[in-house]
Symmetry: C2
Subunit: 156 residues, 2 copies
């Protein structure tokens, strides 16, 4: 018995010129995450991370015109140094959120040149959410954030 | 920073005249689950359970008129003998399903008389899903299933 789902994916794949351990630190230490997670001029003023299934993943995003956007969520999977999976479908373990929008599935592998093979996937519950996410600038936004991530990780 | 969600709960609470260990077995051993999980004349022809976060929780329900209803889902939390949390929001870890309908949160505690204090909660993403679930007969259906569970657990 197999039941599949289209999962409506968006995908960003990059080789980052920074060691995997440093990229992992930038993803999992809140004070580092705040420095790269939003494409400038947006930023993250505060982040909380509990690195286990059901653990809290909270970011508070701030915009250049004073926008304040809290983003609660939870981790679904944490494999140290290798993979992070999280979602906004729950505000905490395991309380449904107002709107399950996406699952983020981030994987990290060593690349041949001492860098990091980085794959960031966003999976959605609906096709309209996938299309909205793409129209909001998924590729540009996550791409810009990945460059900020690379620069920060390379500086550690 | 605290963000709450109404979670749109439905709740069934019972004291079952069967030991907690037996009730836990009936919930977590597929061949036992199949015997009580659906209120008769519905039944479960096949069940699969992987008792860890992200593990598969699949039941195939069959109706008296030949209805065939596969129900894929995943476990979110498994605390042996104490609590099971699962959802249909994912078809597998961690692939969004066509429709995130509910989180099931089942807790088991010893009651004073050697039985089991049993709390089954269904949390929903939307108020309309909560109301639909209630209209579908949540209280009657989960109540009937709990009586089947109690009888089976007491017989072990």
């Amino acid at each position: 018995m197999s039941i599949s789902s289209p999962a409506y994916p968006l995908l960003l794949e990059r080789t980052l010129a920074a060691p995997r351990a440093a990229v992992w630190r930038c993803w999992t230490e809140p004070e580092l995450l705040c420095q790269w997670f939003c494409p400038k001029p947006w930023g993250v003023s505060h982040a909380e991370m509990e690195l286990f299934p059901g653990g809290r993943f909270f970011t508070h995003m701030v915009g250049p015109n004073g926008e304040q956007v809290p983003n609660p969520g939870v981790f679904l999977k944490v494999e140290a140094g290798r993979q992070l999976v999280f979602t906004d479908a729950f505000v905490s373990a395991w309380v449904p959120s107002a709107k399950p929008f996406m699952v983020g599935d981030i994987s990290f592998a060593d690349s041949a040149d001492g860098g990091t093979h980085y794959i960031a996937r966003a999976l959605h519950w609906t096709e309209s959410d996938q299309k909205q996410h793409e129209a909001m600038g998924f590729h540009q936004g996550w791409g810009a954030a990945a460059m900020q991530l690379e620069a920060l990780a390379a500086s550690l």
